[in-house]
Symmetry: D2
Subunit: 138 residues, 4 copies
């Protein structure tokens, strides 16, 4: 499956860094989440509205990340999101964080694979992905 690649810009602020002088590794999960949220929004899927209308929400069930290079304060990143697997109750999204450089090619900082499942907002039990949602996905 070759879904189109979605890209979202992220700027590195003080809040994102740690005493190593670089972006704290756990924060790439936040950057990835922002890009996934905006990717869903670009498809007409607003998570707060989904919760209100369908009584369900996405939860992250699995993450695999590799950290290759470090980002620093003031760096401009590009974060990608690409749907690579569409199951009955979960999706897999491949994501990358890259640093904009003066050169043509951005530098890869972190790549990851995120599985998200659909659950009832009331009891957090896994559920099938609603049809209204599936039809919006590429």
């Amino acid at each position: 499956m070759t879904a189109p690649m979605f890209t979202w810009p992220v700027r590195v602020y003080w809040e994102d860094t740690d005493a190593g002088g670089i972006v704290f590794y756990a924060n790439y999960l936040k950057f990835f989440e922002r890009a996934r949220t905006e990717w869903l929004r670009s498809l007409g899927l607003h998570q707060s509205a989904l919760k209100a209308e369908l009584g369900g929400m996405f939860v992250v069930t699995e993450t695999q990340l590799k950290y290759l290079n470090s980002a620093r304060l003031d760096d401009e990143l590009l974060v990608t999101a690409q749907l690579t697997e569409k199951g009955r109750a979960s999706l897999i999204i491949e994501q990358q964080a890259l640093r904009k450089t003066e050169h043509a090619t951005p530098q890869l900082l972190c790549s990851g694979s995120i599985r998200i499942g659909w659950v009832s907002a009331a009891n957090l039990k896994p559920q099938r992905l609603p049809q209204q949602l599936l039809t919006r996905l590429p």
Copy 2:
């Protein structure tokens, strides 16, 4: 009013620091919150139980903090909480973060005053502090 002083230990981890090599200033609000939570728990007030039983919760309505000295990775802090004002719908708690030192006296890092109000969990509207709660406070 001279309520007793409650003290809670906090260790500084990577997650707490920023690229300046010190604890990110916003994180003192987290340290203060942990100490307030444990202070309430020491009085028999568990916030998740309060929400379930009384349908209400505390929200922070005002914070004033002064930053005097910096904490670094691996530092051991002591965080205090002391009730200084008990109103109908809100409390003021004075708090300090101090660093343990080899000397007798810990070093003051950050002092603050936090006002918390009681609101309905359903609509976030301010409410009077429940009697069950007030009777537990010093």
Copy 3:
């Protein structure tokens, strides 16, 4: 002194919220920081470059925040920054977080006053604000 008002958009993501269903109050300090950083950048002041060139950095020395209304997931906020005091070694910036609404007027969520001081990056000792920096400020 009536310096111009700087405004920066902030979107609310899962990372910003807490179990009360609203933005965790400590995170407004992050939103304010992002707006201050972008305000400085708009004046040609890049903090990582300032550190490299002048050997100093800004640290937050005092914060006063009032929380008036709550923000929720997916909300679009506007965060302002306005310089209101320019001392020898510190600045005071007044800031607001407002929620965009369907109406003309955004709703005020949180207002604050942030004092930032200039310190040596090496030893964190307070220093006079460098002339190169002062001349850029409004």
Copy 4:
């Protein structure tokens, strides 16, 4: 290799939760980090001292996490750390977050595998794990 299992208690506070009412998944990386830090400390390895003495530091280079159950405000967790691979330049630590329950057996919430590498603090280049460090590891 069967290294002993290290266990560290973690309490869930407001700061750890999100608007889904549960612990925000990225925060398990923080909980795991705290447990790894305390595991290293229990072996006599203090990271701030290592940086000062050896000029190096650990960075996380790979994380794999599975989320099985959710934690909520006020929950008491146990976080484990167990060294499962000791390479020339990196370690793999298997970790779990479990919730204390009234029953004998804690409930597994999240399990993960974290690879950490040793780098020069000056330029972040990967380096062999120092002998002083290796001899302390089980």
